[in-house]
Protein backbone atom coordinates (compact mmCIF):
# COMPACT_ATOMS: atom_id res chain seq x y z
CA UNK A 1 0.00 0.00 0.00
CA UNK A 2 2.65 2.46 1.12
CA UNK A 3 4.46 2.57 -2.21
CA UNK A 4 1.56 3.05 -4.52
CA UNK A 5 -0.35 5.60 -2.49
CA UNK A 6 2.85 7.56 -1.98
CA UNK A 7 3.39 7.62 -5.68
CA UNK A 8 -0.18 8.76 -6.14
CA UNK A 9 0.19 11.66 -3.74
CA UNK A 10 3.42 12.88 -5.30
CA UNK A 11 1.95 12.71 -8.77
CA UNK A 12 -1.06 14.61 -7.60
CA UNK A 13 1.09 17.54 -6.47
CA UNK A 14 3.39 17.48 -9.45
CA UNK A 15 0.72 17.78 -12.09
CA UNK A 16 -1.83 20.15 -10.67
CA UNK A 17 -1.16 22.56 -13.53
CA UNK A 18 -1.70 20.74 -16.87
CA UNK A 19 -5.39 20.68 -17.67
CA UNK A 20 -6.07 17.46 -19.46
CA UNK A 21 -3.69 15.20 -17.60
CA UNK A 22 -4.48 11.52 -17.58
CA UNK A 23 -5.83 10.60 -14.16
CA UNK A 24 -6.86 7.04 -14.79
CA UNK A 25 -5.55 4.60 -17.30
CA UNK A 26 -6.89 1.12 -17.96
CA UNK A 27 -4.52 -1.35 -19.54
CA UNK A 28 -5.68 -4.74 -20.76
CA UNK A 29 -8.43 -4.78 -18.16
CA UNK A 30 -10.28 -8.10 -18.04
CA UNK A 31 -13.11 -9.04 -15.74
CA UNK A 32 -14.56 -12.37 -14.67
CA UNK A 33 -17.81 -13.38 -13.00
CA UNK A 34 -16.75 -16.83 -11.86
CA UNK A 35 -15.50 -18.43 -15.04
CA UNK A 36 -17.44 -16.14 -17.33
CA UNK A 37 -15.39 -13.30 -18.79
CA UNK A 38 -17.24 -10.02 -19.23
CA UNK A 39 -14.46 -7.53 -20.10
CA UNK A 40 -11.81 -8.25 -22.70
CA UNK A 41 -8.51 -6.31 -22.77
CA UNK A 42 -10.02 -2.88 -22.26
CA UNK A 43 -7.59 0.01 -22.79
CA UNK A 44 -8.86 3.48 -21.89
CA UNK A 45 -7.59 6.79 -20.54
CA UNK A 46 -9.64 9.22 -18.46
CA UNK A 47 -8.63 12.88 -18.23
CA UNK A 48 -8.90 15.46 -15.52
CA UNK A 49 -11.77 17.93 -15.77
CA UNK A 50 -13.71 15.86 -18.27
CA UNK A 51 -16.92 13.91 -18.30
CA UNK A 52 -16.41 10.59 -20.03
CA UNK A 53 -19.58 8.70 -20.85
CA UNK A 54 -19.62 4.92 -21.14
CA UNK A 55 -22.43 3.89 -23.42
CA UNK A 56 -23.62 0.64 -24.91
CA UNK A 57 -26.36 -1.97 -24.78
CA UNK A 58 -27.32 -3.68 -21.51
CA UNK A 59 -24.77 -6.22 -20.45
CA UNK A 60 -21.93 -4.73 -22.51
CA UNK A 61 -19.79 -4.36 -19.41
CA UNK A 62 -19.96 -0.61 -18.79
CA UNK A 63 -21.05 -0.96 -15.16
CA UNK A 64 -18.57 -3.76 -14.64
CA UNK A 65 -15.85 -1.47 -15.94
CA UNK A 66 -16.40 1.28 -13.40
CA UNK A 67 -16.96 -1.24 -10.62
CA UNK A 68 -13.44 -2.51 -11.17
CA UNK A 69 -11.95 1.00 -10.82
CA UNK A 70 -12.84 1.31 -7.11
CA UNK A 71 -12.69 -2.46 -6.55
CA UNK A 72 -16.27 -2.53 -5.26
CA UNK A 73 -16.66 -5.90 -7.00
CA UNK A 74 -14.57 -7.38 -4.20
CA UNK A 75 -17.70 -7.52 -2.06
CA UNK A 76 -18.53 -10.63 -4.06
CA UNK A 77 -16.09 -13.52 -3.71
CA UNK A 78 -16.53 -14.95 -7.22
CA UNK A 79 -15.74 -11.71 -9.08
CA UNK A 80 -12.23 -10.94 -10.27
CA UNK A 81 -10.43 -8.30 -12.32
CA UNK A 82 -7.11 -8.72 -14.16
CA UNK A 83 -4.89 -6.29 -16.02
CA UNK A 84 -4.07 -2.80 -14.81
CA UNK A 85 -6.05 0.15 -13.50
CA UNK A 86 -3.48 2.90 -13.17
CA UNK A 87 -4.49 5.75 -10.88
CA UNK A 88 -1.75 8.39 -11.18
CA UNK A 89 0.47 5.64 -12.47
CA UNK A 90 -0.06 3.13 -9.65
CA UNK A 91 -1.97 -0.07 -10.33
CA UNK A 92 -4.91 -0.13 -7.92
CA UNK A 93 -5.65 -3.78 -8.63
CA UNK A 94 -2.51 -4.82 -6.78
CA UNK A 95 -3.17 -6.68 -3.55
CA UNK A 96 -1.26 -4.27 -1.27
CA UNK A 97 -3.46 -1.25 -2.05
CA UNK A 98 -5.51 0.27 0.79
CA UNK A 99 -8.97 0.02 -0.77
CA UNK A 100 -10.57 2.39 1.72
CA UNK A 101 -8.05 5.06 0.81
CA UNK A 102 -8.66 4.28 -2.87
CA UNK A 103 -12.43 4.65 -2.45
CA UNK A 104 -11.92 7.93 -0.62
CA UNK A 105 -10.19 9.29 -3.74
CA UNK A 106 -12.47 7.58 -6.24
CA UNK A 107 -16.09 8.08 -5.18
CA UNK A 108 -19.11 6.31 -6.63
CA UNK A 109 -22.81 7.01 -7.00
CA UNK A 110 -25.20 4.19 -7.87
CA UNK A 111 -28.34 3.67 -9.95
CA UNK A 112 -30.77 3.65 -7.08
CA UNK A 113 -30.62 6.40 -4.45
CA UNK A 114 -29.36 4.83 -1.22
CA UNK A 115 -29.76 7.25 1.68
CA UNK A 116 -28.51 5.81 4.96
CA UNK A 117 -31.00 5.42 7.83
CA UNK A 118 -30.08 8.74 9.45
CA UNK A 119 -30.67 12.48 9.07
CA UNK A 120 -29.80 14.45 5.94
CA UNK A 121 -26.92 16.11 7.78
CA UNK A 122 -25.62 12.81 9.13
CA UNK A 123 -25.79 11.25 5.67
CA UNK A 124 -23.33 13.81 4.34
CA UNK A 125 -21.22 13.97 7.49
CA UNK A 126 -20.99 10.18 7.78
CA UNK A 127 -18.00 9.66 5.53
CA UNK A 128 -16.31 12.86 6.76
CA UNK A 129 -16.37 11.72 10.36
CA UNK A 130 -14.90 8.37 9.43
CA UNK A 131 -12.09 9.73 7.24
CA UNK A 132 -11.04 13.11 8.58
CA UNK A 133 -10.38 14.57 11.99
CA UNK A 134 -12.55 17.64 11.66
CA UNK A 135 -14.08 19.92 14.27
CA UNK A 136 -17.89 20.09 14.36
CA UNK A 137 -17.71 23.55 12.79
CA UNK A 138 -15.53 22.28 9.96
CA UNK A 139 -17.92 19.38 9.39
CA UNK A 140 -20.89 21.75 9.25
CA UNK A 141 -19.07 23.93 6.78
CA UNK A 142 -18.13 20.97 4.57
CA UNK A 143 -21.69 19.56 4.67
CA UNK A 144 -23.08 22.89 3.52
CA UNK A 145 -20.42 23.08 0.81
CA UNK A 146 -21.23 19.57 -0.46
CA UNK A 147 -24.98 20.13 -0.40
CA UNK A 148 -24.51 23.41 -2.27
CA UNK A 149 -22.27 21.71 -4.84
CA UNK A 150 -24.98 19.11 -5.29
CA UNK A 151 -27.68 21.72 -5.84
CA UNK A 152 -29.60 20.51 -2.84
CA UNK A 153 -28.76 23.06 -0.14
CA UNK A 154 -31.63 25.47 -0.80
CA UNK A 155 -34.13 22.63 -0.65
CA UNK A 156 -32.92 21.02 2.57
CA UNK A 157 -31.24 23.76 4.61
CA UNK A 158 -34.26 24.05 6.90
CA UNK A 159 -34.67 20.32 7.45
CA UNK A 160 -31.12 19.05 7.85
CA UNK A 161 -32.16 16.99 10.84
CA UNK A 162 -35.02 15.21 9.10
CA UNK A 163 -34.54 11.66 7.84
CA UNK A 164 -32.70 11.33 4.53
CA UNK A 165 -35.21 8.71 3.44
CA UNK A 166 -38.02 11.29 3.64
CA UNK A 167 -36.70 13.15 0.58
CA UNK A 168 -37.99 12.58 -2.96
CA UNK A 169 -36.12 10.18 -5.25
CA UNK A 170 -34.36 12.97 -7.12
CA UNK A 171 -33.38 14.72 -3.90
CA UNK A 172 -32.16 11.43 -2.45
CA UNK A 173 -29.90 10.94 -5.44
CA UNK A 174 -28.47 14.45 -5.05
CA UNK A 175 -27.97 13.66 -1.37
CA UNK A 176 -25.97 10.59 -2.40
CA UNK A 177 -23.89 12.76 -4.73
CA UNK A 178 -23.37 15.28 -1.91
CA UNK A 179 -22.28 12.47 0.39
CA UNK A 180 -19.63 11.42 -2.11
CA UNK A 181 -18.58 14.94 -3.12
CA UNK A 182 -18.15 15.91 0.55
CA UNK A 183 -15.09 13.67 0.74
CA UNK A 184 -13.52 15.70 -2.11
CA UNK A 185 -12.57 12.72 -4.23
CA UNK A 186 -10.59 13.19 -7.43
CA UNK A 187 -12.71 10.89 -9.52
CA UNK A 188 -16.48 10.46 -9.51
CA UNK A 189 -17.91 7.21 -10.86
CA UNK A 190 -21.59 7.60 -11.73
CA UNK A 191 -23.38 4.34 -12.49
CA UNK A 192 -26.54 5.32 -14.39
CA UNK A 193 -27.36 7.92 -11.75
CA UNK A 194 -30.63 9.01 -13.36
CA UNK A 195 -32.10 5.69 -14.44
CA UNK A 196 -34.43 5.52 -11.43
CA UNK A 197 -35.47 9.18 -11.58
CA UNK A 198 -38.23 11.24 -13.18
CA UNK A 199 -37.39 13.59 -16.09
CA UNK A 200 -37.22 16.75 -13.96
CA UNK A 201 -34.82 15.20 -11.47
CA UNK A 202 -32.82 13.85 -14.39
CA UNK A 203 -32.36 17.35 -15.79
CA UNK A 204 -31.17 18.57 -12.39
CA UNK A 205 -28.64 15.75 -12.04
CA UNK A 206 -27.38 16.33 -15.58
CA UNK A 207 -26.85 20.04 -14.91
CA UNK A 208 -25.08 19.06 -11.73
CA UNK A 209 -22.73 16.70 -13.53
CA UNK A 210 -21.74 19.48 -15.94
CA UNK A 211 -21.08 21.76 -12.96
CA UNK A 212 -19.00 19.20 -11.11
CA UNK A 213 -16.81 18.53 -14.14
CA UNK A 214 -14.65 21.51 -13.24
CA UNK A 215 -13.55 19.94 -9.97
CA UNK A 216 -13.67 16.23 -10.63
CA UNK A 217 -12.80 13.66 -13.21
CA UNK A 218 -16.17 12.11 -13.99
CA UNK A 219 -16.94 8.76 -15.52
CA UNK A 220 -20.61 8.32 -16.28
CA UNK A 221 -22.30 5.09 -17.23
CA UNK A 222 -25.42 5.75 -19.21
CA UNK A 223 -27.69 3.54 -21.27
CA UNK A 224 -29.31 6.69 -22.56
CA UNK A 225 -27.62 7.89 -25.72
CA UNK A 226 -29.08 11.39 -25.47
CA UNK A 227 -27.80 11.80 -21.97
CA UNK A 228 -24.29 10.84 -23.06
CA UNK A 229 -24.54 13.32 -25.92
CA UNK A 230 -25.84 16.10 -23.66
CA UNK A 231 -23.34 15.99 -20.83
CA UNK A 232 -20.13 14.23 -21.79
CA UNK A 233 -16.92 15.54 -23.33
CA UNK A 234 -15.77 12.15 -24.47
CA UNK A 235 -17.81 9.04 -25.22
CA UNK A 236 -16.82 5.40 -25.10
CA UNK A 237 -19.00 2.98 -27.00
CA UNK A 238 -18.82 -0.60 -25.74
CA UNK A 239 -20.29 -3.85 -26.93
CA UNK A 240 -19.97 -7.37 -25.51
CA UNK A 241 -17.19 -6.50 -23.10
CA UNK A 242 -15.02 -4.69 -25.63
CA UNK A 243 -14.43 -1.03 -26.44
CA UNK A 244 -15.67 -0.33 -29.95
CA UNK A 245 -15.00 3.37 -30.30
CA UNK A 246 -13.64 6.21 -28.13
CA UNK A 247 -13.84 9.80 -29.32
CA UNK A 248 -14.83 13.31 -28.46
CA UNK A 249 -18.56 13.22 -27.91
CA UNK A 250 -19.40 15.68 -30.70
CA UNK A 251 -17.30 13.71 -33.19
CA UNK A 252 -18.62 10.34 -32.17
CA UNK A 253 -22.22 11.43 -32.52
CA UNK A 254 -21.52 13.52 -35.65
CA UNK A 255 -19.73 10.86 -37.62
CA UNK A 256 -19.37 7.51 -35.94
CA UNK A 257 -16.54 5.53 -37.52
CA UNK A 258 -17.68 2.07 -36.56
CA UNK A 259 -20.82 0.62 -38.08
CA UNK A 260 -21.87 -0.83 -34.71
CA UNK A 261 -21.69 2.59 -33.07
CA UNK A 262 -23.73 4.07 -35.87
CA UNK A 263 -26.47 1.45 -35.55
CA UNK A 264 -26.63 1.88 -31.79
CA UNK A 265 -26.90 5.68 -31.95
CA UNK A 266 -29.50 5.57 -34.70
CA UNK A 267 -31.63 3.07 -32.80
CA UNK A 268 -32.55 5.83 -30.33
Amino acid sequence: MANSSHAAKQDHKAEAAPHKAAVLELKKLCFFYGTQQSLFDVNLTFHRGQVTALMGPSGCGKSTLIRSINRIYELYPNQRAAGEVLFHGANVLEPGIDVNDLRLKIGMVFQKPTPFPMTIFENVAFGLKRHYKMTPAEIEERVEWALTKSALWSEVKDKLHKAGTALSGGQQQRLCIARTVALKPEVLLLDEPTSALDPLSTVKIEELVRELRQDFTIILVSHNVNQARRISDETVFMEAGRVVEVRKTSELFGSPKDQRTKIFIESF
Binding site: I72, L75, V99, N100, Q111, K112, P117, M118, R130
Partner: protein, 286 residues
Protein backbone atom coordinates in the same frame (compact mmCIF):
# COMPACT_ATOMS: atom_id res chain seq x y z
CA UNK B 1 -79.58 -31.27 -28.89
CA UNK B 2 -78.17 -28.72 -26.56
CA UNK B 3 -80.11 -30.18 -23.66
CA UNK B 4 -78.75 -33.66 -24.26
CA UNK B 5 -75.18 -32.29 -24.23
CA UNK B 6 -75.84 -30.60 -20.93
CA UNK B 7 -77.25 -33.75 -19.45
CA UNK B 8 -74.37 -35.90 -20.59
CA UNK B 9 -71.87 -33.37 -19.17
CA UNK B 10 -73.87 -33.13 -15.95
CA UNK B 11 -72.59 -35.95 -13.74
CA UNK B 12 -68.87 -35.19 -14.15
CA UNK B 13 -69.39 -31.49 -13.39
CA UNK B 14 -71.38 -32.19 -10.26
CA UNK B 15 -68.79 -34.76 -9.17
CA UNK B 16 -66.12 -32.11 -9.50
CA UNK B 17 -68.24 -29.67 -7.56
CA UNK B 18 -68.70 -32.17 -4.78
CA UNK B 19 -64.96 -32.86 -4.58
CA UNK B 20 -64.32 -29.14 -4.49
CA UNK B 21 -66.87 -28.67 -1.74
CA UNK B 22 -65.54 -31.58 0.32
CA UNK B 23 -61.98 -30.27 0.06
CA UNK B 24 -62.98 -26.75 1.14
CA UNK B 25 -64.99 -28.19 3.99
CA UNK B 26 -62.03 -30.25 5.19
CA UNK B 27 -59.77 -27.18 5.16
CA UNK B 28 -62.39 -25.24 7.08
CA UNK B 29 -62.85 -28.04 9.64
CA UNK B 30 -59.10 -28.27 10.18
CA UNK B 31 -58.95 -24.53 10.83
CA UNK B 32 -61.86 -24.73 13.26
CA UNK B 33 -60.19 -27.64 15.04
CA UNK B 34 -56.90 -25.75 15.41
CA UNK B 35 -58.51 -22.57 16.69
CA UNK B 36 -60.89 -24.59 18.84
CA UNK B 37 -58.06 -26.31 20.68
CA UNK B 38 -56.42 -22.95 21.35
CA UNK B 39 -59.72 -21.52 22.58
CA UNK B 40 -60.23 -24.51 24.84
CA UNK B 41 -56.78 -24.07 26.35
CA UNK B 42 -57.43 -20.39 27.00
CA UNK B 43 -60.87 -21.16 28.46
CA UNK B 44 -59.45 -23.79 30.79
CA UNK B 45 -56.59 -21.49 31.77
CA UNK B 46 -58.89 -18.59 32.60
CA UNK B 47 -61.44 -20.73 34.44
CA UNK B 48 -58.89 -22.38 36.69
CA UNK B 49 -56.34 -19.60 36.90
CA UNK B 50 -58.39 -16.44 37.36
CA UNK B 51 -59.53 -17.26 40.91
CA UNK B 52 -55.87 -17.49 41.96
CA UNK B 53 -54.92 -14.09 40.55
CA UNK B 54 -54.38 -11.51 43.25
CA UNK B 55 -51.94 -8.82 44.28
CA UNK B 56 -50.24 -11.18 46.75
CA UNK B 57 -49.14 -13.21 43.73
CA UNK B 58 -46.57 -10.48 43.06
CA UNK B 59 -45.70 -9.58 46.64
CA UNK B 60 -45.38 -12.87 48.49
CA UNK B 61 -43.13 -15.85 47.93
CA UNK B 62 -44.25 -19.43 47.45
CA UNK B 63 -45.99 -20.77 50.61
CA UNK B 64 -45.53 -24.10 52.39
CA UNK B 65 -48.10 -26.73 51.41
CA UNK B 66 -51.63 -26.29 52.74
CA UNK B 67 -50.91 -22.81 54.14
CA UNK B 68 -53.31 -20.28 52.73
CA UNK B 69 -52.00 -17.17 50.94
CA UNK B 70 -48.55 -16.79 49.52
CA UNK B 71 -47.66 -15.90 45.95
CA UNK B 72 -45.14 -16.33 43.20
CA UNK B 73 -42.89 -13.28 43.79
CA UNK B 74 -39.72 -15.38 44.05
CA UNK B 75 -40.59 -17.30 40.88
CA UNK B 76 -41.52 -14.16 38.92
CA UNK B 77 -38.30 -12.39 39.85
CA UNK B 78 -36.35 -15.59 39.20
CA UNK B 79 -37.83 -15.96 35.73
CA UNK B 80 -37.07 -12.31 34.96
CA UNK B 81 -33.44 -12.68 36.08
CA UNK B 82 -32.86 -16.04 34.39
CA UNK B 83 -34.47 -14.91 31.13
CA UNK B 84 -32.68 -11.55 31.28
CA UNK B 85 -29.25 -13.11 31.66
CA UNK B 86 -30.09 -15.71 28.98
CA UNK B 87 -30.97 -13.00 26.49
CA UNK B 88 -27.96 -10.91 27.49
CA UNK B 89 -25.91 -13.88 26.29
CA UNK B 90 -28.07 -14.98 23.35
CA UNK B 91 -28.81 -11.61 21.75
CA UNK B 92 -25.22 -10.47 21.06
CA UNK B 93 -23.99 -13.96 20.17
CA UNK B 94 -26.98 -14.58 17.89
CA UNK B 95 -26.68 -11.20 16.17
CA UNK B 96 -22.95 -11.68 15.59
CA UNK B 97 -23.51 -15.13 14.09
CA UNK B 98 -26.27 -13.79 11.83
CA UNK B 99 -23.97 -10.94 10.81
CA UNK B 100 -21.22 -13.39 9.96
CA UNK B 101 -23.64 -15.41 7.83
CA UNK B 102 -24.93 -12.43 5.86
CA UNK B 103 -22.10 -9.89 5.82
CA UNK B 104 -18.98 -12.04 5.97
CA UNK B 105 -19.84 -15.38 4.37
CA UNK B 106 -16.46 -15.66 2.64
CA UNK B 107 -16.69 -18.36 -0.01
CA UNK B 108 -19.77 -19.64 1.76
CA UNK B 109 -18.63 -23.05 2.94
CA UNK B 110 -18.21 -22.11 6.60
CA UNK B 111 -21.46 -20.15 6.46
CA UNK B 112 -23.30 -23.19 5.09
CA UNK B 113 -21.87 -25.32 7.89
CA UNK B 114 -22.84 -22.79 10.57
CA UNK B 115 -26.33 -22.54 9.08
CA UNK B 116 -26.68 -26.33 9.15
CA UNK B 117 -25.63 -26.63 12.80
CA UNK B 118 -27.88 -23.74 13.70
CA UNK B 119 -30.84 -25.58 12.16
CA UNK B 120 -29.94 -28.71 14.08
CA UNK B 121 -29.74 -26.75 17.33
CA UNK B 122 -33.03 -25.05 16.49
CA UNK B 123 -34.85 -28.38 16.46
CA UNK B 124 -32.92 -30.02 19.31
CA UNK B 125 -35.21 -31.19 22.15
CA UNK B 126 -34.93 -28.70 25.00
CA UNK B 127 -34.46 -31.48 27.55
CA UNK B 128 -31.26 -32.39 25.72
CA UNK B 129 -30.00 -28.84 26.10
CA UNK B 130 -30.87 -29.04 29.82
CA UNK B 131 -28.98 -32.31 30.29
CA UNK B 132 -25.99 -30.94 28.43
CA UNK B 133 -25.88 -27.81 30.57
CA UNK B 134 -26.27 -29.95 33.67
CA UNK B 135 -23.27 -32.05 32.66
CA UNK B 136 -20.91 -29.24 31.82
CA UNK B 137 -22.03 -26.51 34.19
CA UNK B 138 -23.98 -27.81 37.19
CA UNK B 139 -21.59 -30.71 37.75
CA UNK B 140 -18.53 -28.52 37.23
CA UNK B 141 -19.75 -25.85 39.65
CA UNK B 142 -21.03 -28.50 42.03
CA UNK B 143 -24.50 -27.01 42.52
CA UNK B 144 -27.64 -25.91 40.71
CA UNK B 145 -27.85 -22.21 39.90
CA UNK B 146 -29.97 -19.62 38.15
CA UNK B 147 -26.96 -18.88 35.97
CA UNK B 148 -26.84 -22.46 34.68
CA UNK B 149 -30.53 -22.04 33.83
CA UNK B 150 -29.71 -18.87 31.90
CA UNK B 151 -26.98 -20.63 29.95
CA UNK B 152 -29.32 -23.49 29.04
CA UNK B 153 -32.01 -21.03 27.88
CA UNK B 154 -29.39 -19.06 25.94
CA UNK B 155 -28.54 -22.22 23.97
CA UNK B 156 -32.18 -22.45 22.98
CA UNK B 157 -32.52 -18.75 22.18
CA UNK B 158 -29.32 -18.35 20.12
CA UNK B 159 -30.42 -20.37 17.07
CA UNK B 160 -33.76 -18.54 17.08
CA UNK B 161 -32.08 -15.13 17.13
CA UNK B 162 -29.70 -16.28 14.39
CA UNK B 163 -32.48 -17.51 12.13
CA UNK B 164 -34.68 -14.42 12.47
CA UNK B 165 -31.86 -11.86 12.42
CA UNK B 166 -30.29 -13.51 9.38
CA UNK B 167 -33.56 -13.14 7.52
CA UNK B 168 -33.81 -9.48 8.48
CA UNK B 169 -30.22 -8.66 7.48
CA UNK B 170 -30.52 -10.50 4.18
CA UNK B 171 -33.58 -8.39 3.33
CA UNK B 172 -31.62 -5.12 3.34
CA UNK B 173 -30.98 -3.82 -0.17
CA UNK B 174 -27.49 -4.71 -1.34
CA UNK B 175 -27.14 -1.17 -2.72
CA UNK B 176 -26.99 0.33 0.78
CA UNK B 177 -24.03 -1.93 1.57
CA UNK B 178 -22.29 -1.03 -1.69
CA UNK B 179 -22.91 2.70 -1.23
CA UNK B 180 -21.36 2.67 2.24
CA UNK B 181 -18.37 0.59 1.17
CA UNK B 182 -17.88 2.90 -1.84
CA UNK B 183 -17.32 5.79 0.60
CA UNK B 184 -14.14 4.03 1.68
CA UNK B 185 -15.52 2.97 5.04
CA UNK B 186 -14.18 -0.30 6.47
CA UNK B 187 -16.53 -3.22 6.30
CA UNK B 188 -17.00 -3.63 10.06
CA UNK B 189 -17.96 0.02 10.47
CA UNK B 190 -20.42 -0.27 7.62
CA UNK B 191 -21.94 -3.25 9.40
CA UNK B 192 -22.19 -1.65 12.82
CA UNK B 193 -23.10 1.91 11.85
CA UNK B 194 -25.30 1.34 8.79
CA UNK B 195 -26.46 -2.25 8.44
CA UNK B 196 -27.37 -2.81 12.08
CA UNK B 197 -29.00 0.57 12.30
CA UNK B 198 -31.08 -0.08 9.19
CA UNK B 199 -32.09 -3.51 10.51
CA UNK B 200 -32.68 -2.38 14.11
CA UNK B 201 -36.45 -2.93 14.06
CA UNK B 202 -36.13 -6.45 12.75
CA UNK B 203 -33.32 -7.31 15.13
CA UNK B 204 -35.37 -6.17 18.13
CA UNK B 205 -38.21 -8.34 16.84
CA UNK B 206 -35.85 -11.32 16.65
CA UNK B 207 -34.83 -10.76 20.27
CA UNK B 208 -38.40 -10.34 21.51
CA UNK B 209 -39.63 -13.49 19.77
CA UNK B 210 -36.76 -15.54 21.18
CA UNK B 211 -37.49 -14.11 24.65
CA UNK B 212 -41.13 -15.11 24.32
CA UNK B 213 -40.08 -18.60 23.31
CA UNK B 214 -37.74 -19.26 26.27
CA UNK B 215 -40.03 -17.70 28.88
CA UNK B 216 -42.07 -20.89 29.08
CA UNK B 217 -39.26 -23.44 28.70
CA UNK B 218 -39.30 -25.92 31.58
CA UNK B 219 -37.11 -28.90 30.79
CA UNK B 220 -33.79 -27.01 30.57
CA UNK B 221 -34.46 -25.36 33.95
CA UNK B 222 -35.30 -28.63 35.77
CA UNK B 223 -31.67 -29.71 35.49
CA UNK B 224 -30.06 -26.33 35.98
CA UNK B 225 -31.85 -23.60 37.94
CA UNK B 226 -33.88 -26.20 39.83
CA UNK B 227 -36.10 -24.13 42.10
CA UNK B 228 -36.02 -22.38 45.44
CA UNK B 229 -38.72 -21.93 48.05
CA UNK B 230 -37.20 -18.65 49.09
CA UNK B 231 -36.65 -15.33 47.44
CA UNK B 232 -33.19 -14.84 45.96
CA UNK B 233 -31.65 -12.40 43.52
CA UNK B 234 -28.36 -14.27 43.40
CA UNK B 235 -27.95 -16.13 40.11
CA UNK B 236 -25.27 -18.38 41.65
CA UNK B 237 -27.92 -20.04 43.82
CA UNK B 238 -30.74 -22.32 42.78
CA UNK B 239 -33.54 -20.02 41.69
CA UNK B 240 -37.30 -20.26 41.69
CA UNK B 241 -38.85 -19.70 38.27
CA UNK B 242 -42.37 -19.85 36.91
CA UNK B 243 -42.14 -22.95 34.69
CA UNK B 244 -40.50 -25.22 37.30
CA UNK B 245 -42.73 -23.96 40.13
CA UNK B 246 -45.72 -24.65 37.90
CA UNK B 247 -44.40 -28.12 37.13
CA UNK B 248 -43.87 -28.98 40.81
CA UNK B 249 -47.06 -27.40 42.10
CA UNK B 250 -49.32 -28.83 39.43
CA UNK B 251 -48.08 -32.33 40.28
CA UNK B 252 -48.54 -31.79 44.03
CA UNK B 253 -51.62 -32.97 45.96
CA UNK B 254 -52.09 -29.60 47.69
CA UNK B 255 -54.90 -27.45 46.41
CA UNK B 256 -53.30 -24.08 47.19
CA UNK B 257 -50.20 -25.13 45.22
CA UNK B 258 -52.33 -26.27 42.31
CA UNK B 259 -54.10 -22.90 42.27
CA UNK B 260 -50.78 -21.09 42.21
CA UNK B 261 -49.66 -23.27 39.28
CA UNK B 262 -52.70 -22.15 37.29
CA UNK B 263 -52.12 -18.52 38.19
CA UNK B 264 -48.51 -18.89 37.04
CA UNK B 265 -49.73 -20.39 33.78
CA UNK B 266 -51.83 -17.28 33.16
CA UNK B 267 -48.87 -15.01 33.91
CA UNK B 268 -46.64 -16.85 31.42
CA UNK B 269 -49.32 -16.95 28.74
CA UNK B 270 -50.05 -13.24 29.08
CA UNK B 271 -46.37 -12.27 28.99
CA UNK B 272 -45.65 -14.44 25.93
CA UNK B 273 -48.70 -13.04 24.19
CA UNK B 274 -47.61 -9.52 25.12
CA UNK B 275 -44.07 -10.06 23.83
CA UNK B 276 -45.35 -11.50 20.55
CA UNK B 277 -47.73 -8.62 20.01
CA UNK B 278 -45.04 -6.03 20.81
CA UNK B 279 -42.63 -7.84 18.47
CA UNK B 280 -45.12 -7.74 15.64
CA UNK B 281 -45.93 -4.07 16.17
CA UNK B 282 -42.22 -3.29 16.29
CA UNK B 283 -41.59 -5.13 13.05
CA UNK B 284 -44.41 -3.38 11.25
CA UNK B 285 -43.64 0.17 12.32
CA UNK B 286 -39.94 0.01 11.42
Amino acid sequence: MQISINISAGPSISARRIKDWVFSALCFLAAVFGIGVLALILYCLLKLGLPGLSLSLFTESTPPPSVEGGGLANAIVGTLIITGIAMAIAAPVGILIATMLVEFPGKGKLAALVRFFNDVLLSAPSILVGLFTYAFMVRTLGHFSGLAGSVALAFIAIPMVVRTAEGVLALLPVQVREAAVALGIPRWKVTVLIIWRAAAGGIVTAILLATARITGETAPLLFTALSNNFFTGNPMQPMANLPVVMFNYALSPYENWQNLAWAGAILITVSILGLSVVARIFFRTR
